[in-house]
């Protein structure tokens, strides 16, 4: 009976290990497809496809947002602090969109490497803090880049 249990224990452990290896290899093979977005560096390196809908991700560059005064048209630069991509968009931006904010953008790359956005999603980071703390950090200049408190 004891030997029986030991055999079953080995079978169970083997089963879990086998499943883990199978899933691990699958995910490793699919790793490029599981990433949600391309980074500006990948686009600069020519890894991203042209004329196909895809997502890019990065941070909205400081002082790069230009809003058209008569329409929703807006252009801005997305950066990963190594390379930049120019983005133009013609729809409503999410509440969290601001300079320095992480964003994920759905759209197409045109021939001049400008990104024509169809949808802009704001990425939220893992830090949470009360407004007073954010104000205090801002006053001392310790607020992480781009986390501009909403008024």
């Amino acid at each position: 009976m004891r030997a029986n249990r030991k055999r079953r224990l080995i079978i169970v452990l083997g089963l879990v290990a086998l499943a883990a290896v199978a899933v691990g290899l699958t995910l490793y093979a699919l790793r490029a497809n599981i990433n949600l977005f391309f980074t500006p560096s990948q686009i600069a390196a020519g890894e991203a496809p042209h004329d196909r809908t895809m997502r890019i991700g990065g941070v909205v560059k400081k002082d790069s947002v230009n809003r058209d005064s008569n329409s929703l048209q807006v252009t801005f630069v997305v950066t990963d602090f190594a390379k930049d991509v120019e983005v133009s968009y013609d729809d409503i931006l999410p509440d969290l969109f601001r300079e320095g904010q992480g964003v994920v953008i759905v759209g197409k790359l045109d021939d001049s490497n400008e990104f024509i956005a169809q949808q802009v999603l704001a990425k939220h980071d893992e830090t949470y803090m009360p407004p007073e703390v954010a104000q205090a950090l801002k006053a001392t200049g310790n607020l992480p880049d781009g986390s501009v408190p909403s008024s």
Binding site: R5, A20, L96, V104, E126, Y128, P130
Partner: protein, 243 residues
């Protein structure tokens, strides 16, 4: 220690132990969730970026944690059942599954509600969200497989194997935000560094998480007693109980 574990395997003994433990967990769950809800909704400060909408975290995080813990508990119970053939372990895995599925759904649902104002979308096929959806399908698969076999030993074995294979998804959920770039942010709480959140925010969250755990434990004890009675209905001690 060993005699205690051996006794746990006896349905009769386990039934009475569950009955004795139950009230404490119900009271703890009720108190913790009540205190946590009031604290998190009324007294914890708003977030500097998201304002009040971040308060969804107080439901979202506990339910997502439970969704994963419940499945791990089911996997442990399944392994115990397969190796030592302890029936109580199979019963425990049976009664935990629906609660886990509900928590997974709640995690996905509250995440969607939160995503609309914060991200600008309720759903995106990023690794974290997709892995969590697969988790929901795993729960449904486990419940459906159990239902298809009815109450026989072969079915219990099949369900245990599916649960053990499915547990591979848990580390994928956990590390999805580290391994791939996703829309979902990385973990706020890690073992290695201070939480990226002040105490006034994480204290009520911790209370809510503990409250959810107590609720899960209480509900499991309650449902396990029912399951024991149902499966052992032919034994003398259950029939004596009914009289």
């Amino acid at each position: 220690m060993w005699t205690f574990i051996h006794k746990l395997g006896s349905p009769k003994w386990c039934y009475s132990l569950c009955g004795r433990l139950q009230p404490g967990f119900w009271i703890a769950a009720l108190l913790l969730i009540a205190v946590g809800s009031v604290w998190s909704l009324a007294y914890s400060p708003p977030d500097y970026q998201m304002g009040n909408s971040y308060r969804i975290i107080y439901v979202h995080v506990p339910s997502a944690i439970l969704a994963q813990s419940v499945f791990v508990s089911m996997a442990i119970a399944s392994a115990v059942f397969l190796i030592w053939k302890i029936k109580i372990a199979d019963m425990a895995a049976t009664v935990m599954a629906p609660f886990g599925a509900a928590m997974t759904f709640l995690g996905l649902f509250s995440g969607s509600l939160w995503g609309v104002p914060t991200w600008g979308t309720w759903w995106t096929w990023d690794a974290r969200l997709t892995a969590m959806l697969i988790q929901l399908f795993l729960y449904i698969g486990v419940i459906a497989l159990r239902g298809a076999y009815g109450r026989n030993d072969q079915g219990a074995k099949a369900v245990a194997v599916l649960t053990l294979v499915g547990v591979v998804n848990i580390p994928i959920i956990k590390y999805s935000v580290v391994w791939w770039n996703t829309l979902h942010q990385p973990a706020t709480f890690t073992l290695t560094s201070r939480p990226a959140m002040p105490e006034s925010m994480w204290m009520p969250l911790l209370i809510m998480v503990l409250g959810f755990y107590c609720f899960f434990t209480a509900l499991t004890l309650y449902r396990l007693r029912n399951e024991i009675i149902r499966r052992e209905s032919r034994t003398r001690w259950v029939q004596a109980l009914a009289e």
